[in-house]
């Protein structure tokens, strides 16, 4: 079964690197969607079925933290798995994100192997 992925990052270069990493990961990918911040991500999520969201934290307009909060409050989106991909290494924040329902936390720079392992673990739960 092919999967639909949403990549949320304000950096166009990271969106491209993430896309390439996901395509190289060996996962069965149906389509990949993009958003530059949390607000754009919510629009995509309301228009399109998404199997897994990879989101950065530090973004303008709406951060990854706000995105996770808003998804958690929406019954249609609360079950969509979110993986945070960030350079932040704040252990308190990571714990708080996991309590808020974030499935995994990947430190940048990402590799196809780490993306594949995390995605397979999460998508296997669906």
């Amino acid at each position: 079964m092919s999967h639909t992925i949403l990549i949320v990052d304000d950096s166009p270069i990271i969106r491209t690197v993430m896309k390439k990493s996901i395509l190289m990961s060996g996962l069965d990918i149906g389509s990949i969607h993009f958003a530059g911040n949390g607000e754009e991500a919510l629009k995509v999520l309301n228009e399109q079925w998404i199997d897994i969201v990879f989101a950065d934290i530090n973004m303008p307009i709406m951060s990854g933290l706000e995105l996770v909060d808003k998804m958690g409050l929406d019954p249609m989106l609360s079950s969509v798995p979110v993986v945070i991909v960030s350079s932040m290494n704040d252990q308190l924040q990571i714990e708080s994100l996991k309590k808020a329902g974030v499935k995994a936390y990947i430190h940048k720079p990402v590799t196809p192997e780490v993306l594949r392992d995390v995605a397979m673990q999460i998508l296997g739960e669906l």
């Binding site: 166009p12 690197v17 390439k20 530090n58 350079s87 924040q93 430190h107 720079p109």
Partner: protein, 147 residues
């Protein structure tokens, strides 16, 4: 503080862009700069500045494309911002401790001519300059002062 910068920046550029850097004396240059604010027990900012040519090489290597491609030139500023983002996220816990809570801002991109960059360096708290295959790359630390 600088030893953390040397270690983290070298590793990040080597791992993500496959370029080795070595410390060198600072000589000003026309630069693309990314600046990111941090807030923990203290507030301040980190800046990463390099030549446009090195920015293009970083973008090309991050994306796995040719340096001569339009896509590499279109992404050179974002490449500098992303390297800074990754290094900044590692530096705060390196410097102030792994258990500390902190936040980082969104990278801000600017172009600085040689004279402007010299002023920024003069007003900085600390800086360290590197050579990357003949191109300069500069890391600057600025700590907000309380009156």
């Amino acid at each position: 503080m600088i030893e953390h910068v040397v270690s983290r920046l070298s590793a990040c550029i080597e791992d993500t862009a496959f370029i080795f850097i070595t410390e060198t004396e600072f000589e000003s240059f026309d630069a693309v700069c990314a600046t990111i604010s941090y807030e923990t027990a203290v507030k301040g900012s980190f800046s990463l500045c390099c030549s446009k040519q090195l920015g293009i090489i970083l973008a090309a290597n991050l994306l796995g494309i040719e340096e001569q491609s339009n896509e590499a030139e279109a992404n050179y500023q974002f490449a500098v911002a992303e390297i800074l983002n990754i290094v900044g996220g590692m530096l705060v816990p390196d410097i102030w401790g792994e258990t500390i809570s902190y936040s980082l801002g969104v990278p801000v991109l600017t172009e600085q001519n040689s004279a402007q960059l010299l002023e920024i360096v003069k007003n900085s708290d600390e800086y360290v300059c590197f050579d990357a295959d003949g191109e300069p790359i500069l890391f600057i630390i600025h700590e907000d002062k309380h009156d």
